[in-house]
Symmetry: C2
Subunit: 223 residues, 2 copies
């Protein structure tokens, strides 16, 4: 365990919630930060809050409506129908331009004010849906940029960077929070907690990972 | 001249206003973006607007109050007395943590929506008062980070990066806007337009540069 404090960027979804418990295992003090940015299901902020209350983690939330309105996308603009798949010629319209750039930059300034320089995020590039700001190179570049912007030594931790969804379920299980992540988090684009609608791209990815993990667990019960 | 469009991050001060006219010379189409972030003299946004109206440049402004409140600083928090000099042991308290990081990141997303990938900023590291986010390495790192965040090719232009204040006055003169920059821009921390209060750190730097430039011009009138 690091004798340090960490701030987790928490959305209340499967990935960031798993990271919250990963951070609790690896850092002495953990706090969490959520954002209201005009996402269609702001209930995810309440979900993040409730999970933190249960996990005994100080929880903060910030309003950044600009993130949702700056770049056109179907996550914050209900008039745009969501892409079910990544289009061949570009990014899915669920991409909110600059979202992780803003989330992590704000988190860094917020953390620095509190003497925290370890920031944990659930982004990963295995199932990254074509979002460029989930890639490892982006995170490394941003880490350097944040250090240069404030003349500090931030460390961005991405425990899920190279895990697929099945491995993320395995991590939650290992951390003892499989049921909490399964039934209490919100990943679904339609705003349905737990297993969700089962049909939207986020639910599909989550469900396929879950089924794969459960098959593996049944086949290797000793693991 | 580049056959491209550029977006200038404009504060209404000497540096960014000089950059506005530099951009008009080098790009086919120029627009400008200002921020309201809780700065004590929001009149600078009106000044930026008026300069753009006169220069026939489309002007935009965005509200980002979070930037002013996220990190403690004396530019947005009137209860903190401003450092007149850079303290030996750290950054002056006029440093707004993450300011240029946020300004340029927001500008990039804003520009991308409009098909603009050239961004012009007045930051420079010659008279940088110890602000880490004015340095050349920060700007280069941020440029890469923005490209990776959105899978685009942004170009951040910093025409003043290696100029001191006297050289910045020379550039304004060369661009035919010496008087406009001298009498219409707002650099003063006390909010006084033009030559300002003459006493605050920003005025002192500006005045010393102006006097040096005027001495040079008198000594070399042919230049």
């Amino acid at each position: 365990m690091y004798a340090r404090k960490a701030l987790v960027v928490l959305s209340g979804g499967q990935d960031s919630t798993t990271c919250l418990f990963w951070a609790k295992k690896h850092f002495q003090q953990v706090s969490a930060l959520s954002f209201r940015y005009g996402q269609q299901h702001e209930s995810e902020v309440q979900i993040a809050h409730d999970i933190c209350a249960e996990a005994n983690v100080p929880f903060f939330s910030l309003n950044v409506p600009l993130i949702g309105t700056l770049g056109s996308n179907s996550l914050t603009d209900k008039s745009i129908p969501m892409d079910a798949e990544k289009p061949a010629d570009g990014l899915p319209n669920t991409f909110v331009p600059g979202r992780n750039l803003f989330f992590l930059s704000i988190a860094a300034v917020f953390a620095r004010e509190r003497g925290i320089f370890d920031i944990v995020t659930g982004v990963g590039q295995t199932d990254f849906s074509g979002y460029p700001d989930c890639r490892d190179t982006f995170i490394h570049s941003l880490n350097v940029t944040l250090n240069l912007a404030m003349d500090e030594t931030f460390r961005i931790h991405t425990p899920l960077m190279w895990k697929d969804k099945a491995e993320t379920w395995a991590l939650a299980d290992e951390l003892g929070v499989f049921n909490l992540v399964r039934y209490r988090t919100l990943t679904c684009y339609r705003g349905i907690v737990g297993d969700g609608c089962g049909e939207c791209p986020a639910c599909k990815l989550r469900r396929e990972g879950l089924e794969k993990y459960l098959r593996n667990r049944q086949a290797n019960p000793s693991k």
